[in-house]
Amino acid sequence: DTGMLAHDLPNYLREQGGEKSDCSLHSFPVSFAQLGWNPWIIAPHRYNLRYCKGTCPHLLRYDYHAPNHAVVQSFVHQLVDANVPWPSRVPYRYSPISVLMIERSGAILYKEYENMIAESCTCR
């Protein structure tokens, strides 16, 4: 009964720690040496990957940019079959990084790679 749900919304929000907090986005500086790629990646030595972590709230409000599919899946998990997994927190927007690398031919390559840093999270 959506009336009940709307009535119960404040509890839901309180339960989820009130305002939407994007503390789900975590910093993670990683070096290409740690990945074993430094023999051919000259620069940068490291970059901040950033990643999404945490559970998705019970009520995927509009500002989570969650697709309708995730909203329905969260209801299915709660009301129909708990074997259907709860939506996961994943990156929503990304940004590129530029890399300087050496190719096997000995050429030196400057390249901008898309989608290398997570800038915000959503639930999917």
Partner: protein
């Protein structure tokens, strides 16, 4: 004390597209022809990189290079003894085949040092394009003011844009030593000019985009 598994019996590890893409570029893999880059070309690209991106690799929007890929190609072969008295003449070949299809050429330039200070006097240099069957053609003068001494000459028209059959490019690097002849010190050879290919990579992701994976119902 188990004998190591013969390679043939190891399970074929499904290589992730990303690792596949990186392995194609990895040094040490078969086909690794030339040792790591060094000297002037590497310094030039490091300066270009520092202008284009911050310490964490984030592209500086204010300094966009106007493209997402720039490849520096070094001369892969050059003629014999270059010096004759004051004159230096070197024929340089640049191999261009094997460019990834997804990378579309926007512009091509050759970068060289028009003049080099020596202990006694200095070296003045020019470039000639060697076109098969024709007398060498002097390239136009540098298209931009030399930056840190480096001059860049646009050679895009010579690469017959869109004609992917251009396998290699030949240049003649001509220099003359000006000023008092030095003592008996060995003449200083100028660094070899190198090509810069400004490309638009239409697949700027790391991994070559596999076609939409056809997944069976689990």
């Amino acid at each position: 004390n188990q004998s190591p598994l013969p390679l043939g019996s190891l399970p074929a590890v499904p290589t992730l597209p990303l690792l596949q893409a990186l392995r194609m570029r990895a040094p040490g893999s078969p086909g690794w022809q030339v040792g790591p880059a060094s000297g002037q070309p590497l310094r030039y690209m490091l300066n270009l990189y520092r202008r284009a991106a911050d310490r964490e690799g984030r592209p500086r929007r204010s300094r966009s290079l106007g493209t997402n890929t720039i490849r520096l190609v070094q001369a892969s072969s050059h003629g014999g003894q270059p010096w004759a008295g004051r004159w230096y003449l070197q024929v340089l070949t640049y191999h261009l085949e094997g460019q990834p299809e997804a990378e579309h050429l926007l512009r091509a330039t050759v970068v060289y040092l028009p003049s080099l200070s020596l202990a006694h006097g200095h070296l003045l240099c020019a470039l000639e394009l060697v076109v098969a069957g024709e007398a060498p053609r002097v390239l136009l003068s540098p298209t931009a003011r030399p930056r840190h001494g480096w001059a860049e000459v646009d050679i895009t028209p010579y690469l017959a844009l869109g004609n992917s059959s251009v396998g290699s490019l030949a240049l003649r690097h001509v220099c003359v030593r000006a000023g008092r002849a030095g003592g008996h010190d060995a003449p200083v050879a100028p660094g070899h000019p190198f090509l810069l290919l400004y490309l638009n990579d239409t697949q700027a992701g790391l991994a070559p985009p596999a076609a939409e994976p056809h997944r069976h119902q689990c």
